[in-house]
């Protein structure tokens, strides 16, 4: 049978506020256990929550970025369950009246086309603490530093049809929230976590199949792998005539498989009801408008602009706009030299390669946007050829320069990369090369006329070996002339 995959994602995004959603404790990552948990976060008797202004603004910002309905009234509810990392015995969340309603985003598919994915809602809630299971013998240690960190939970419609689409959706959400500056986007620190609802149905069937929910997947790669593993598991069962059990599952990255965590029967009855310690959050159009004014240009708009105004390819535009820092870097370079294509080639090429090789972020790269722009400017005014530019770039990566633009001039001099375009000087070098490579000359002359263009290559290599900074166009011209005279 032909199966159709149906996937919906719930993404938890930690908001980049300084303090918690309902208390004045810091949200900084990595502090000693329970040093950033005050009486509110610990759920001490008698404490009360007060809602963080910034968390609301960030949620609204997100809503506007995905063209969503922003609700003028949102209400916090208590979701009741017992777990040691949930200090009050309930999580404060928004069930009935979320701040952000129906919206949508575009994801780019592998073939370069785009697909619209609808977002059901995004609600504000508090994060739980952490349980540590190693190092305490037969006990678990509870750290409540994370408890109360503001989250938005973004719920997609079940419109994703493959693990690849799901990963693209997760990436796009990452791109949007980091563009907005509402999340640091650090997946390794759990800043974004994803629950994946996966089901299969016979192709053509309207009704959804029974779904399993894979909890807490926290990398782009694992979203794809976990979903693929789950699809495979479900398909095996269905092909064998079995039925899928509605349950919560965990993904084991080492074994690349999902395993059951709890079945639906074991699910809690959460007994949601409006939190009586908090009042309805009311916002008006003026507030929403004011937040709208703070929105940066978003990845889709950037991508579109790169294509239509700067003539970049869809693929280049997609890659360069996906990450805000990279896009900022790229635009600084492009605008300084007023050449988007040259900047795109370099950022996509040498810069991206360096980032991958060195495993650093664009902010940490030893070559600043201003420095790269200067290097490219030297190409454009013929001071450097492409090879020379790469050499300067690599020298900077190796730490041979500093963070100034001026150091580039020094490096060009030190490495003798200044391009020689003076015909007389080049003629002298060419003459020397021809004189020292009689065998090459002989074989060249033996080459039929129509294949000589290719046979000229080795001479160019020899010339550049003799003098690095020669202008390749001039070399070509001189070589052609001299060889034809032989």
């Amino acid at each position: 049978m032909q199966w159709e995959v149906v996937i919906g994602l719930e993404i938890h995004v930690q908001l980049a506020t300084k303090t918690k959603i309902f208390s004045g404790s810091s949200t900084a990552y990595g502090a000693d256990a329970n040093t950033q948990a005050d009486v509110v976060d610990l759920g001490m008797p008698g404490v009360l929550p007060v809602f963080n202004k910034e968390a609301l603004q960030m949620a609204v910002k997100f809503g506007l970025a995905i063209d969503a309905e922003i609700h003028h009234k949102s209400v916090f509810d208590r979701k009741n369950y017992f777990y040691p990392d949930s200090p009050k015995g309930y999580q404060t969340t928004q069930l009935y009246y979320p701040t952000v309603g129906m919206g949508h985003i575009e994801i780019e598919l592998e073939d370069g086309s785009t697909k619209r994915i609808n977002v059901t809602r995004a609600h504000l809630e508090e994060d739980a603490g952490k349980s540590v299971h190693e190092g305490f013998g037969s006990s678990s240690g509870i750290d409540l530093n994370r408890a109360g960190t503001p989250l938005i939970e973004i719920v997609s419609e079940p419109e994703l049809r493959s693990a690849k689409e799901a990963a693209a959706y997760f990436r796009k959400m990452h791109s949007i929230v980091t563009y907005l500056g509402i999340c640091d986007g650090d997946l390794s620190q759990g800043s974004m976590r994803c629950d994946c609802n996966v089901s299969l149905r016979p192709k053509g069937q309207e009704e959804f199949g029974t779904r399993a929910e894979i909890k807490n997947v926290n990398s782009f790669r694992n979203v794809e792998r976990a979903i693929d593993a789950e699809i495979e598991r479900q398909m095996d069962i269905l092909e064998d005539g079995g039925t899928i059990v509605q349950e919560t599952r965990l993904y084991d990255a080492d074994k690349n498989e999902t395993r059951s965590m709890r079945s639906k029967e074991e699910e809690n009855d959460y007994r949601y009801f409006p939190c009586p310690d908090l009042l309805p959050v009311l916002i008006d159009e003026d507030y929403i408008e004011a937040v709208r004014q703070t929105l940066p240009e978003l990845p889709d708009a950037k991508r579109q602009r790169y294509i239509s105004e700067q003539g970049l390819s869809a693929i280049d535009a997609g890659v360069l706009s996906a990450n805000r820092s990279l896009a900022d870097y790229f635009e600084t370079v492009a605008e300084t030299i007023n050449d988007y294509k040259l900047a795109a080639n370099w950022v996509q090429g040498d810069v991206s390669a360096a980032l991958n090789r060195l495993e650093v972020s664009i902010e940490e790269l030893a070559v600043s946007a201003e420095q790269l722009a200067y290097i490219l400017k030297l190409i454009k005014d013929n001071t450097l050829n492409n090879g020379g530019a790469k050499e300067v770039f690599n020298a900077l990566l190796e730490g041979k320069g500093d963070d100034t633009v001026a150091c580039i001039d020094t490096l060009v001099d030190q490495l003798g990369l200044k391009q020689v375009s003076d015909t007389g000087a080049i003629e002298a070098i060419v003459d020397e090369v021809l004189a020292n490579n009689t065998k090459l000359v002989e074989s060249y002359l033996a080459t039929p006329e129509d294949k000589r263009a290719k046979a000229i290559g080795p001479f160019i290599g020899q010339v550049r070996k003799a003098a690095k900074g020669v202008n390749p166009q001039v070399v070509m011209e001189v070589l052609k002339k001299k060889l034809s005279e032989l």
């Binding site: 009486v39 610990l42 759920g43 001490m44 008797p45 008698g46 404490v47 009360l48 929550p49 007060v50 809602f51 208590r78 009741n80 017992f82 040691p84 200090p87 009050k88 015995g89 309930y90 678990s140 509870i142 409540l144 009855d269 007994r271 949601y272 009801f273 009586p276 310690d277 908090l278 009042l279």
Partner: protein, 483 residues
């Protein structure tokens, strides 16, 4: 002895008739002598009290005394007091030395009052008799076989027995007004949002409100002046100017319109209670007030609505009592589930358990609309009844309780009977209105309370009406025999 009021102590401290240390020692002595029989205190903080009294005397010598500097009071045991046991009358918190102060406690400390300790109460303020405390039942100083009322029974009994001149208390469904009535005192529950709830251990968050129990309306005004006001730590605290509650006490009552809800004077009401309340209303007429019959047509929905809302909120509020970060933990838990179940089952009493369970049931899948939502809708109708009534009248008067103080062990195994006793008080909590109880008579040597209900944030008008009544009657001066 005759009742000692805060106003009188304040005057005597100011005149130098005695020092704060002296009056504090007097009260501590009275507690030692008399509280064994009454059981109104859970904790007496003698050492800290004397230190506070000494500091207050110094403050006075330096000329920095406020009206209440050096005046001894005590706090209900659900007020968090930094460094002092805050048990809420429960085994669950029998080791909970609060690590911070309630805002109200902080304000009294700043005003220089002296705290003598922490007052007994129904466990987690869930009850109307102060019999459910882990620390034993509170006795009514008027008759030790009877209950002091609840849940602020310790606050009321301590003031009635003159162990302190005034006490803080809290009121979720009548927990200030009913014990004040049973013990012949003045009690006021201000408007919801008038006094910060920060640091007062929650029973039902949308109903809880802090207040005081004193002998007189004047004393209540003095205490409210200290504790009222906006608190940025409480989202439900109102950003409103707080008047000087003593300013209007001496205003005349000519022209005041008092509404009498016909639903509160039905044939079911005990004739003696009816008589006492009617006599009180006649006093008001003599003072120049006009009386008008009104209707609160949804009064029959008050008890079920209250019970469901308070139980639902309590079921969630009590979840933090889990034995993980503070409070009682069972011995040798085998796993986390066992830790939760045994810590809670051993640490919480049966009335608390009952309310948690009813609340959980009312919120559970499939029942939310039929119970919780319906109760919230009834709450709207109940509030609207009052909003409409206050278009016609200035204050509303009626009984506080259907009966005088009942016997110990009479109702504590019958939660429904206990709940029905709150029929006149809980409506105010649902609507969030201010209410007072003042002593207006006696039946068989037991005090009877008159309830005065005010419009939103009109505590001053209530206090004025109560004070005027106390200028022409002497019920508030009476004290139990032998104390």
């Amino acid at each position: 002895m005759s009742n000692i009021t805060i106003a009188e102590i304040s005057k005597n401290l100011a005149s130098g008739k005695y020092s704060s240390v002296e009056i504090t020692q007097d009260f501590l002595q009275r507690i030692k002598q008399n509280d064994k029989a009454i059981n109104s205190f859970i904790t007496v903080t003698e050492e800290q009290a004397l230190a506070q009294a000494k500091a207050a005397d110094e403050q006075r010598q330096n000329g920095n005394a406020s009206v209440l500097t050096g005046v001894p009071i005590a706090h209900k045991d659900n007020y968090c007091t930094d460094g002092v046991l805050t048990s809420c009358g429960s085994k669950m918190l029998s080791n909970f030395v609060a690590p911070y102060n309630a805002t109200v406690v902080e304000k009294f400390n700043e005003a220089g009052t002296v705290s003598l300790g922490k007052l007994n109460m129904d466990e987690f303020a869930m009850g109307s008799s102060s019999e459910s405390s882990f620390y034993g039942a509170v006795s009514n100083p008027w008759d030790s076989n009877r209950v002091a009322g609840g849940s602020s029974g310790g606050s009321a009994a301590a003031v009635a027995a003159n162990l302190i001149p005034g006490a803080t208390a809290s009121d979720t469904g009548g927990s200030i007004r009913q014990p004040a009535a049973f013990c012949g005192l003045t009690g006021i529950k201000p408007t919801y949002g008038r006094v910060s709830r920060w640091g007062i251990v929650a029973y039902a968050s949308s109903l809880d409100q802090a207040g005081v129990i004193t002998h007189t309306a004047e004393d209540a005004a003095l205490m409210l002046n200290v504790m009222s006001g906006f608190d940025e730590k409480d989202s439900t605290s109102m950003q409103l100017e707080v008047p000087d509650f003593t300013a209007d006490l001496n205003n005349g009552l000519a022209g005041l319109t008092i509404g009498l809800p016909k639903e509160y004077f039905s044939a079911d009401l005990d004739p003696a209670m009816q008589q006492a309340v009617s006599d009180a209303v006649k006093e008001y007429e003599k003072l120049g007030a006009k009386v008008k019959e009104i209707s609160l047509p949804h009064s029959h929905l008050v008890i079920p609505s209250y019970y469901l809302i308070s139980a639902a909120e309590c079921s969630a509020n009590m979840s933090r009592m889990d034995g993980v970060r503070f409070g009682y933990r069972c011995d040798n838990p085998t796993d986390i589930h066992d830790l939760y179940v045994r810590s809670r089952s051993e640490g919480l009493g049966s009335e608390v358990k009952r309310r948690i369970m009813i609340g959980a049931y009312a919120l559970s899948a499939g029942y939310y609309d039929a119970y919780y939502k319906k109760a919230q809708q009834a709450r709207r109708l109940i509030k609207n009844d009052f909003v409409n009534a206050f278009k016609e009248v200035d204050i509303i008067a009626g009984p506080v309780t259907p009966t005088t103080a009942f016997n110990k062990n009479e109702k504590n195994h019958d939660p429904v009977a206990m709940a029905l006793g709150d029929v006149f008080t809980v409506a105010l909590n649902l609507a969030g209105l201010p209410g007072m109880s003042i002593n207006c008579g006696q039946i068989n040597n037991l005090p009877v309370g008159l309830q005065l209900i005010g419009n939103y944030f009109e505590e001053a008008r209530l206090l004025n009406a109560a004070h005027q009544f106390q200028q022409v009657t002497d019920w508030h001066l009476k004290s139990p025999a032998g104390l």
